[in-house]
């Protein structure tokens, strides 16, 4: 740490260390001054700083959760640098300069040509005019009044909207990592769909203008006003290499009367090598509030990456007749660990929820489904159906199911079923008989196993997800 910075950091806030900092990386460690530094750097209004400080204060009092079925060495939160201005990535001049290993992966996944270039970090204008593509998108969205920008931009441009909704679904002290995120988040996505607007296209971070490295503490806020609808895609099937080991994102969705929000994720972050070294810790809090009557929130996720995945995209079904959905495929291989599932909190009358979860474990990995279905005394006529299936490939891996079902209303109907199976010799034999080799047969069986979830994905994603699974499990089936 430079002496200048040290001095600056130790200064009291009021006398502005604001302007003069040359370095774009904050010193390691977390304290109030760092939070003030982040806030000042981003030129944030006072209420947001208060929000961050309140979160920090709560975080200090909290303990790291011990209940997830995952194991990892203790994280040193003081060894992380919580602010670094986005650095421009080194631009490559043509596809020839891209790592052939990465190209091979793209080939296998069937990623479209233009996306490959962007993902590999090739200066996009060399290959195709993505800026113009993005501009067209932006125009289209602006025409119908949709706001789609980075959250820092939204804080500057639409502070009232952000202030009204930020932290309403995931309160600052919700859990350890959400509190940490609330204190130090640096960027993320903001999306606002005004009354009665059906978003004309699937929104994706990929097409967001000025996409910056969102960093390890990403914050997403999506608001659907009365009668609006939107489908949002997060992540992509291409492997994402990242130097930050800990990722603690927060995603908040708010659906007002008759609004419909669909959130799809494909996560393929670096999972560590086959011996379990390295890989990303993905500790995410995702929650949707179906606030209005007849509102609907739908989560679809395909989780294949990260050394540890720890996330429970949830729905709070507050509005009458609101609907929550959760479709998930989680694949773990080698030494990956996944503890994922959902929470469906039924509060409003006649609320309905569906949970379909498919877990596939291979290698030495552990895959847990942990879900909660809670029917509050007010949720008369609530209905839930859950199905969690696991598949084990090999005898060194583990599959776990922890469904919590809490019912406080007599008129509710809750059903849960789970099964565990393997790919049967007889099934493989059947395929072999018809001239289909083992690898292909396994991939078809797994595809069938995950069909219910893949059907929920937008088309291009579904195709890529299928291939992604094939790729992930390559070589794990005898």
């Amino acid at each position: 740490m430079s002496a200048v910075l040290q001095n600056l950091v130790n200064q009291p806030y009021k006398h502005g260390f604001v302007t003069e900092i040359e370095s774009d990386i904050a010193p390691k460690g977390l304290n109030e001054d760092i939070i003030r530094l982040i806030s000042t750097k981003k030129n944030e209004p006072a209420w947001l700083l208060d929000f961050r400080l309140k979160a920090y204060e709560q975080w200090l009092k909290m303990e790291e959760p011990k209940w997830p079925n995952v194991k990892y060495p203790k994280i040193d939160f003081q060894a992380i640098s919580y602010y670094s201005a986005p650095k421009p990535k080194k631009k490559l001049n043509s596809m020839d300069e891209v790592d052939p290993e990465l190209l091979r992966t793209f080939e296998k996944l069937g990623v479209p040509m233009h996306e490959r270039a962007a993902l590999a970090g090739v200066a996009v204008d060399v290959i195709f005019d993505s800026v113009s593509v993005a501009t067209t998108y932006k125009q289209k969205l602006a025409e119908v009044g949709i706001i789609f920008c980075s959250i820092s931009e939204a804080v500057q441009m639409y502070p009232e909207l952000v202030k009204q909704y930020l932290g309403t679904v995931v309160p600052v002290g919700d859990n350890y990592y959400a509190a940490l995120n609330s204190a130090v988040f640096t960027d993320g996505t903001f999306c606002f769909i005004p009354k009665g607007v059906k978003c004309p296209m699937d929104l994706s971070t990929y097409f967001r203008i000025n996409t910056e490295e969102s960093g390890q503490f990403e914050r997403t806020l999506i608001i659907g006003e009365e009668g609006s609808s939107v489908s949002y895609l997060e992540g992509c099937t291409a492997p994402k290499f990242d130097t930050n080991q800990l990722h603690a994102a927060v995603v908040e969705l708010v659906a007002l009367d008759n609004a419909d929000i669909k959130y799809s994720t494909v996560q393929n972050w670096y999972a560590g090598d086959e011996n379990g070294l390295g890989g990303i810790y993905n500790f995410v809090t995702k929650r949707g509030l179906a606030k209005g009557v007849n509102s609907r929130i739908s989560w679809t996720q395909v989780e294949t990456g990260s050394a540890i995945t720890w996330k429970y995209p949830s729905c709070i079904l507050q509005g009458e007749n609101s609907v929550g959905e959760f479709y998930s495929v989680a694949v773990t291989n080698h030494y990956q660990q996944a503890d994922t599932g959902t929470k469906m909190i039924h509060i409003g009358k006649n609320t309905r929820s569906t949970i379909v979860s498919k877990g596939i474990s291979a290698g030495h990995s552990n895959n847990s489904y942990r879900g909660l279905v809670r029917i509050a005394p007010t949720a008369a006529g609530a209905r839930n159906y859950s199905q969690c299936d696991s598949m084990l490939i090999g005898d060194k891996c583990g599959a776990h199911t922890f469904p919590y079902i809490q019912v406080r209303n007599q008129q509710a109907k809750v059903e849960h079923e789970a099964s565990t199976s393997k790919i049967g010799e007889d099934q493989l034999f059947y395929f072999a008989q018809r001239g289909i080799g083992n690898e292909e047969a396994v991939s078809m069986i797994i595809n069938g196993f995950c069909k219910d979830v893949f059907q929920q994905l937008p088309m291009e994603f579904a195709v890529e997800a299928t291939k992604l699974l094939e790729f992930k499990l390559e070589g794990s089936v005898g």
Binding site: W67, I375, P377, S390, L392, I393, G394, D395, K396, C397, G398, A399, H400, T401, F402, P403, Y404, I405, Q406, V407, R408, N409, Q410, Q411, A412, K413, V414, E415, H416, E417, A418, S419, T420, S421, K422
Partner: protein
């Protein structure tokens, strides 16, 4: 619960323990002493403990319970109503103390080829080598305060040994009667089914009073190779009572364990059943029914541990919840690495009869082997409107139709009890209870 109450409270729980007469067997005394030590270091679980998340036993700590006093006034006529016609052998305990005058003579068991006796009697000394490897070895008390307390108070208790290849149809009836309010009793059973034997045991908890008391029971059941055990457990404690039960079952090669447990009584009841399929080809069927109303809480935690290949387990647990009662079920199925070809199904079905009734259920699978067939399911619901309509269209009144359906829901479990007179008695209880609501 605060720390302040727990230490002094625990002292009060161990009150009377030092007065227990020492056993002639050194290991027996040793076991008791280590349980006392262990109990001293453990705390009363709170709802912050995952295993007790939905069951708040803090009301237990608010009452002071004394060790039971010896009773002398009880007449045979007072307890005869609890006897089972089919039972050839009966062991009766009153407030935890063995009552030879109400129990059948050991000779009768011997004639049938069984050893059935009280744990404190001299007979135990002669069976020392048989029971030493088992008593206190299956129901571990390292992390379980209640098991530690029970073991600390180890004195009277039921011992049933079915020797090699002995097959006895008539059930052994172990009857625990509570007669005094504000006492704590620690019933204990040990059943050893030697290889090839077949035996039926009925563990029956009843009361002659309506007061508050604590029953803290521990049962250990050992099945050697090819043994078969039918285990029926009925809990009919007083509506003010606290019932904590713990049962540990160990299954050897190709043995078969069937259990039906029924919880009707107690203000707060908790039953932990751990079955370990410790050798290949073991099989167990574990069924349960909780029928509760008012402000009762019935909590059942089971763990079926498939440690070896080719095991089979079946489980059906049902709860009928009325009034402002609260039913909790946590069923864990563990399939350890190497336990290939395990076949396991589990089902938790819950019927809510009133607006204030509450159910928390968690069927749980933990699987570390790939060639297995495991499935579980859970449902929570009310009586089916169509089924009600069907019955009403055939002339049944709304109430009669409801009662019939509720009764049928519970009867599926009671039907699995292999003792006819007990089955009838329970069916009547269920019918009366549903009629009342």
């Amino acid at each position: 619960m605060s720390m302040v109450t727990s230490s002094s409270y625990l002292e009060s729980l161990l009150q009377g323990q030092p007065q227990l007469p020492p056993s002639p067997l050194a290991w027996f005394n040793q076991l008791r002493a280590s349980a006392v030590d262990r109990a001293g270091t453990l705390k009363l679980p709170t709802t912050r403990d995952e295993d007790w998340r939905f069951t708040d036993i803090s009301p237990l700590a608010k009452l002071s319970f004394q060790p039971a006093r010896a009773v002398s006034t009880l007449q045979a006529a007072d307890v005869e109503g609890f006897y089972l016609d089919e039972a050839a052998i009966r062991l009766v305990f009153v407030d935890g103390a063995y009552m030879p005058q109400f129990s059948t003579q050991p000779d009768k068991a011997r004639d049938l080829g069984l050893t059935v006796t009280d744990l404190s009697s001299t007979a135990v000394s002669s069976h020392g080598t048989v029971i030493e490897p088992h008593l206190g070895r299956h129901a571990g008390f390292q992390d379980n305060l209640f098991a530690a307390l029970n073991t600390a108070f180890l004195h009277d208790g039921a011992l049933v040994v079915a020797p090699r290849n002995a097959a006895v149809d008539a059930p052994v009836h172990v009857l625990f009667i509570a007669t005094q309010p504000e006492v704590a009793s620690h019933p204990r059973c040990l059943l050893i089914a030697e290889s090839g034997s077949a035996v039926t045991i009925v563990e029956d908890y009843v009361t002659l009073q309506e007061g508050a008391y604590v029953t803290n029971a521990v049962t250990e059941i050992v099945l050697e190779g090819n043994a078969q055990v039918n285990h029926v457990r009925i809990q009919r404690d007083s509506p003010q009572a606290f019932h904590i039960g713990h049962c540990a079952v160990s299954l050897a090669h190709a043995s078969r364990y069937r259990s039906v447990s029924v919880a009707l009584g107690a203000r707060i009841s908790r039953y932990d059943l751990n079955a370990r399929l410790a050798a290949e080809g073991a099989e167990c069927a574990i069924d349960g029914l909780a029928l509760i109303s008012g402000r009762q809480l019935a909590d059942t935690h089971t763990c079926i541990d498939h440690a070896q290949p080719n095991g089979i387990s079946r489980q059906l647990h049902k709860c009928i919840v009325d009034g402002a009662a609260h039913a909790v079920f946590n069923g864990k199925i563990m399939v350890r690495s190497g336990a290939q070809c395990t076949d396991s199904t589990q089902s938790s079905r819950n019927l809510l009869l009133s607006a204030k009734a509450r159910v928390d259920t968690k069927p749980q699978l933990e699987i570390f082997a790939d060639d297995v067939k495991c499935a579980h399911g859970a449902t929570v619901g009310q009586l089916d409107i169509e089924e009600l309509f069907y019955l009403k269209s055939r002339g049944l009144s709304e109430i009669a139709a409801r009662n019939l359906l509720t009764y049928a829901f519970g009867a599926e479990i009671i039907d699995r009890i292999p003792v006819a007179s007990l089955k009838q008695r329970l069916e009547r209880t269920v019918f009366e209870q549903t009629k009342r609501s």
